[in-house]
């Protein structure tokens, strides 16, 4: 018998209340886990896409607050960038989110410079790659193929123009797996943006140092007003959707934390009110006020820890479920990690302590003689 077991025993006395409280906390924690893992997954997936492409730096228009960086004419910028030290390749990319089928949600349509390094990281699972920059064909990601019910040889209509699907590819980035891919030239034509790109990808040579990269960024800032050179990570963290999803996950953390703490607060306050006499006995038996506080806080923390554990399981389930519903397919790729779960558990402990603090304080301040008189 020790404090922990005694606390556990106290919670077991009221199984219905304990499980209700745990469920309430678990719901909040589940929302936190699901949203946060999705927000991180979203970011990581974009990051993966950029990393896999072998892109070291990305050049876009500055002040892009929208989902996609706004398009710009590539030619002159490309020339300036190609002339910078260590720059090996400068490749344009155009992307748009478009509806290509009436019964599927919008998908990403990417246009990549024909036969550039960008294509190298993709794995062709079926068919072939486009044969020429001017060939009006698309290759589609495995997930997109599944969602749009398309296979090699089918036609797909993009912005009123018909394209033949000539191949299906796989990528380790879920964003690309769910996308349609064509040559930049074709993408520019179909979106009526001749000569334009959203992004210029820079690949640097092997002996480029961090300092060299910083130098390139600095040069871009000076010689190309209105443009920024950033690493893929920076681009992703500036992405509006990433920012919104992160803000949403933060808001959820805040709300769930508050609700969780309030639930614990309410439960523990009720519990100590019922146990006034017992607390009086414990005080009479020589329990110190600190020990009473420890007991009540232990009970709160056990509640919130249990809620946290259940919440993590439920949250993982929710994220997994969301990944697999049609509307979300290929757009999210929830990420979980042990440190993340530990942080969630730490959050639940904190809300347990916060919620339990006042009831614990109140219990420890009870006057033993009057507590004993209580029935």
């Amino acid at each position: 018998m020790n404090l922990f077991r005694f606390a556990l025993n106290n919670l077991q006395r009221r199984p219905a209340r304990t499980s209700l409280t745990v469920s309430a906390i678990a719901l909040g924690i589940a929302a936190v886990v699901a949203l946060t893992s999705i927000a991180w997954g979203f970011e990581a997936s974009w990051q993966k896409a950029n990393d896999a492409r072998g892109t070291d730096l990305i050049v876009t228009r500055a002040a892009s607050e929208n989902t996609m960086p706004s398009p710009f004419r590539a030619e002159k910028v490309q020339q300036v960038l190609a002339a910078l030290p260590h720059v090996k390749e400068v490749v344009g990319l155009l992307s748009e989110m478009l509806t290509v089928s009436d019964d599927a949600p919008p998908v990403f349509v990417f246009g990549w410079v024909y036969s550039s390094y960008l294509w190298e990281h993709l794995k062709l699972v079926e068919g072939r790659w486009p044969n020429a920059s001017a060939e009006p064909v698309v290759v589609i990601g495995a997930l997109a193929a599944e969602m749009l019910h398309k296979k090699t040889g089918d036609q797909v209509e993009i912005e009123g123009k018909s394209f033949q699907v000539v191949g299906i590819f796989e990528s380790n980035a879920v964003v690309e797996n769910g996308a349609l891919l064509m040559t930049l030239e074709q993408a520019q034509q179909v979106t009526d943006k001749p000569g334009k790109v959203n992004v210029l990808n820079i690949k640097v040579d092997a002996n480029t140092t961090e300092a060299d990269l910083r130098n390139i960024k600095e040069q871009v800032k000076m010689t190309l007003p209105g443009f920024v050179a950033i690493t893929s990570g920076e681009l992703v963290s500036q992405n509006a959707v990433v920012r919104i999803s992160k803000a949403m996950s933060n808001a959820t953390i805040l709300i769930a934390g508050l609700v969780g703490a309030l639930v614990v607060f309410n439960t523990m306050l009720m519990s100590i009110n019922e146990r006034t006499r017992e607390i009086g006995i414990l005080l009479a038996l020589g329990w110190q006020r600190g020990t009473i506080m420890k007991l009540v806080i232990s009970e709160s923390v056990i509640l919130s820890l249990l809620g946290g554990l259940v919440g993590i399981l439920v949250g993982v389930g929710i994220a997994w479920g969301l990944e697999h519903i049609e509307l979300m397919r290929g757009k999210i790729d929830a990420i979980f990690s042990i440190p993340f779960f530990l942080e969630v558990q730490a959050l639940s402990i904190v809300l347990g302590i916060c919620g339990g603090f006042y009831p614990a304080f109140k219990a420890s301040r009870l006057l033993p003689s009057s507590a004993l008189r209580q029935e």
């Binding site: 077991r5 017992e278 020589g286 007991l295 003689s369």
Partner: protein
């Protein structure tokens, strides 16, 4: 046997210092409206068994609460050995180190086994869980509950419950046991058994026992009986012409 509170009983050395000295103690509630204790003076010697008797509302339990530091006196002073109560900084610690409580209604925690109930007061004390458990077991064995340790209070008889409560009062090795009508909820057979065990163990360990009781057969076994009336110690029994059976009837 003397009943004068200021005369030490014959079987104790008059040279011994009192473990408890109470001087001019008052306890008022409701801003002085209710006078639970109204000037109590009392000495209790180490190892002495003092029974406090008196009608309901005479202040017996209030006196016990003040002795046990559960209530703070309105005026007057108490000394535990040489230490004045008013100088005790941590009353919880004081209780834990010096006082063991036994209540009329047992006050066991119903969801804990007999053994765990005895261990409860050790939570937060020095020593390992193992040591506390060993001591609790030996106390329960001593109180004849070897076979009942794992039982929950609901499965124990009244007498057994009170024996568990006694073990609980003794677990932290107090110097003084305060018992508030410990046999009040028991039938006479159980009451005698519990009383025998309590007084036996208290004598054996040289502890001081202050017991509030209604039961003349209980008070008769005390070294000294103190009568309370209207929040005061009454004068020796004879002077008030109390019925002798209250203090008599000893076996």
């Amino acid at each position: 046997m003397s009943t004068d509170p200021h005369i030490l009983p014959n079987n104790l050395s008059s040279a011994r210092l009192p473990i408890l000295r109470i001087e001019g103690l008052t306890l008022h509630f409701d801003g002085g409206q209710t006078k639970a204790l109204n000037g109590v003076d009392l000495d209790v010697c180490e190892g002495e068994f003092v029974a406090i008797v008196g009608a309901s509302g005479s202040g017996k339990s209030s006196l016990l609460n003040v002795i046990g530091t559960l209530d703070i006196p309105s005026s007057g002073e108490l000394f535990f050995g040489a230490q004045p109560y008013s100088k005790i900084k941590d009353t919880s610690l004081f209780r834990r180190e010096n006082i063991g409580f036994v209540f009329q209604s047992f006050n066991l925690i119903s969801t804990l086994s007999a053994l765990d109930n005895v261990i409860v007061p050790t939570i937060g004390c020095a020593g390992s869980d193992h040591e506390h458990k060993a001591r609790a077991e030996s106390l329960l064995i001593e109180l004849g509950l070897r076979e009942r340790m794992a039982h929950f209070p609901g499965k124990l008889s009244g007498g057994e419950r009170q024996r568990v409560a006694i073990a609980r009062a003794l677990i932290n090795r107090p110097r003084m046991v305060l018992a508030d009508e410990p046999t009040g909820s028991l039938d006479s057979d159980n009451a005698i058994q519990v009383l025998d065990l309590l007084t036996g163990i208290v004598k054996q360990q040289g502890l001081t026992l202050v017991m509030v009781t209604h039961d003349a057969s209980v008070s008769a076994r005390a070294d000294r009986v103190v009568r309370m009336r209207d929040g005061k110690i009454a004068l020796p029994v004879g002077a008030y012409g109390d019925t002798p059976e209250l203090i008599g009837g000893a076996p």
